[in-house]
Symmetry: C2
Subunit: 275 residues, 2 copies
């Protein structure tokens, strides 16, 4: 009986910057396969307006990684998120994987519904949740919805919205170096440095367990910490002026490096593949 009285730990989060390798090394999908084991993996394609083909692509990608029981979770309309049909997909699941598309579709279609509550509940009891691209962005408490790529941040140019809140006190951006999103992540952090900015490159992921993230994949994860910022013009200036922010701390982490979210400190580690 002692076992049952222990508080369960929340499950791991695998936050992927988009375009994870699906037919080569598959370091990131392998990590997810290890978490799921022989259980069912739920492919939540809710972010997409046209979800055809996602399930099949991941079935192919996971086939020889030992994960063979994949089901698709899609909601056409918000009302579907209260239906048993959707909820039953989660029965006995070993993991949920949110695929790419539009993060606002995830939050608007399942936010504050029985489906979302069930997912959060299962995660709190230990279920691993993975998300790529839009599925990564939606994990944070406040999420980035839209903002310019490849330009410096201009005041007023960013759309944020409440995310699923699987991870608190961070804001996640993806396709990070590839789409030149430093400017908008710095802009997001300037809004409220309570949030740590986390930018994840393509084919790169952050595996978060017990408040600590480990990087895997081929790119980098950027952590932007505005706690010590000494100046920002974000509340003062006209919309067309570029952002100023001084004394931001930045960490660039690559495969194997870790980040302790509670202490806000990085730690260098061995390349994930060499472990």
């Amino acid at each position: 009986m002692a076992d049952e009285q222990q508080d369960p730990c929340p499950g791991p989060l695998l936050i992927i910057g988009g375009h994870e390798d699906k037919d080569g090394e598959r370091a990131i999908l392998k990590a997810l396969a290890r978490l799921v084991g022989e259980r069912r993996l739920v492919i939540a394609t809710v972010a997409s307006h046209e979800p055809d083909g996602y399930l099949e692509a991941y079935q192919d990608a996971f086939r020889d990684l030992g994960v063979t029981d994949l089901v698709e979770l899609y909601v056409e309309e918000r009302g579907d998120s209260a239906r048993d049909e959707a909820l039953r997909k989660l029965d006995g699941a070993g993991g949920v994987f949110f695929t790419g598309g539009d993060q606002l579709r995830i939050s608007s279609q399942i936010g504050d519904t029985p489906l979302e509550r069930r997912i959060l509940e299962l995660h709190a009891q230990g279920l691993p949740i993975a998300g790529t691209s839009a599925g990564a962005a939606v994990m944070s408490e406040t999420m980035l919805v839209k903002g310019p790529n490849a330009t410096s941040y201009r005041i007023g140019e960013l759309h944020m919205a409440p995310g699923l809140g699987l991870m608190r006190d961070v804001i996640i951006d993806q396709h990070f170096a590839e789409r030149g999103r430093y400017g908008r992540l710095l802009g997001a952090v300037a809004h409220n440095p309570r949030l740590l900015g986390v930018g994840i490159d393509e084919n790169t992921a952050l595996l978060v367990e017990n408040g600590c993230g480990t990087v895997l994949g081929e790119g980098a994860v950027y952590v932007v910490d505005g706690h010590g910022a000494s100046h920002s013009n974000i509340a003062e200036e006209e919309a067309e002026r570029a952002l100023s922010i001084f004394d931001v701390r930045m960490h660039v982490l690559s495969s194997g490096d870790e980040f302790d979210f509670e202490r806000r400190r990085p730690k260098s580690g061995k390349h994930w593949d060499d472990r």
Copy 2:
């Protein structure tokens, strides 16, 4: 006679991130026009393999800004950089403006020649020097030659070379946010944090006078300070691994903000246009 014994101050540097506005507000070209006054402006097109049209474009752009005496300085071959014909172009000049192209063409064709020595000498005596794009990159002691855009830095992926050394202890990158060059500037700084990384957006410039830079134009200037970095993997890792570097300090400066290069400190200021 007292006047002649005073040590002259080096002239201002106007370091432009490329694509400066040539037919609208022209905030950056106006700043150069103010420095040059009614004197001659030397358009040094040395960076270009095909310099046709540069002089005419700048003649048009400067016409109603009060700078009407423009001459082109081009060297076809390195040997030309020792010729009187080239040196005479600098007589009575009120400014030299290095236009865009390939920074390696500037350093290889005029580096360590009488032409370069004459330019450095005039600058030391107060001559303003401007440079855009390649002409900006070449100003630093060590310059960035080539490196990937829109990706995180991978060890070994960067080409650097000696620049003209008009500015010491910095390394300059241009087209900064537009081409997603954060990764490579962080990589450059990781090589030796003695160098402060300075990334300049398009249609944005840093006007450096007496060791202090002021931002003008529409974008931002990023200063990457690796002095306090607590870890970097740049000397340890295999070439294909992404860069790790922890505890980098970053400042994002916009129009009117200043940076004191000696103290390595930013200072907020009023929008350049509102002055």
